[in-house]
Symmetry: C2
DNA sequence: TTTTGACCGTTGGAATAAAAAAGTCAGAAA
DNA sequence: TTTCTGACTTTTTTATTCCAACGGTCAAAA
């Protein structure tokens, strides 16, 4: 069983490599199989369908994200620095996995299953809870005034995601946002984050 | 000449009615002409092409918007109330002209000419200048701390537009956002606006 | 100056065919 | 028994064709 999990991990990593370069829709199960020097049915032995594989990929990416941002969960860091560092992590992930279009709410996929959507909502919820906790701790430290941390966390994340969304929409219709756009996007997110926190004091 | 302008106005108003209901792409020049009980070449006598007509329509809508929001430009109103009322006006326009997809940066149009884009940028700039002025006056009144009002106006408007953008993207893939989505969108924009202003104090 | 019927070149959407992808299965290999 | 595969079927995507409908023009009438 542990061998099986290892294989699943290997497949997911292989899939990620392809997805990062060509996106989910432009990557076929055959290509993933060939990369790993196995047959397509082998893939289907470990994943019942492409959807499940995509789900596995997304799970791994989010797990990596949460691993990083939750690392100093209990460290005593001013909330402004805390959120800035999270924004930068998110920015790295955004660039790295841009081709998967994870920021659009649903990934680059006609495999636009309900399963995937609910999964996304779970991730969003987890991120909101995580941020709510940050706000809660900050309130207890007296950095910011007491509020409904759930609501505020949602609003904060929406305001940040909104900037990303704008960047994607207004972007040149190229495949990839330019370095310059990415830079101004990050700057805006950091500025907005700082003003937001200040507004909660 | 003043007669010509009147006719142009009439055509624009007729076009707006169709655009509001069916969007720009799904409205034909013939339909607009028939609505006004004239022939298609008559339209082309007043507007060289559909692009120009669309441009006229957009100009009118934005003129209406600026007429309303700039009305109490010199009134002594607290900035929070000021921006709230602007947000609500914008919200009304967003709903009313939703089918034209003016919020997406470029309108619902394969007529996606450069002319149109630059025009949009001009409108955006004007709105930014207008908001910068509001921030500037607010600084002079001592409501908020001095800052780079241009930068702040841009960031403020991006944060608001970002929420709209999210609402459009995440929305059910229906033609029109639901009443509920619209309501939460407005609430988020108002909350964010208030926090933003507080963050500038 | 303004308006029109008749006309032309282009385009976008429906329909179809062709290609490629997802997914299955009986059976072999380990 | 668990893992894997070649050969297969079914579904989806892409390419192609075609035609109505659209944007746009023009000579001539009002």
């Amino acid at each position: 069983m542990v061998e099986t999990d290892k294989k699943r991990e290997l497949i997911i990593e292989g899939a990620i490599k392809r997805f990062m370069h060509y996106g989910i829709n432009k990557t076929t199960m055959n290509e993933i199989a060939e990369d790993l020097s196995v047959s397509k049915p082998s893939l289907y032995y470990y994943f019942p369908d492409k959807n499940s594989l995509v789900l596995g990929v997304i799970d791994k990416i989010f797990a990596d994200y949460f691993d990083i941002v939750e690392k100093d969960r209990f460290a005593d860091i001013p909330i402004i620095e805390r959120l800035s560092s999270i924004t930068e992590v998110k920015h790295r992930f955004f660039q790295k996995y841009y081709m998967l279009h994870l920021s659009g709410g649903s990934p680059d996929s006609s495999l636009n299953s309900e399963e995937l959507k609910t999964h996304f909502l779970r991730m969003k919820k987890r991120n909101e809870d995580f941020h709510a906790e940050i706000f809660q701790k900050s309130i207890e430290k007296g950095e910011i005034a007491p509020t409904d941390v759930s609501k505020i966390a949602e609003l904060y994340l929406d305001s940040q995601a909104g900037i990303t969304s704008l960047c994607i929409m207004h972007g040149n219709k190229e495949l990839f946002p330019s370095k310059k756009e990415l830079k101004t996007m990050l700057e805006k997110q950091l500025s907005l984050s700082n003003i937001f926190i200040k507004g909660l004091q």
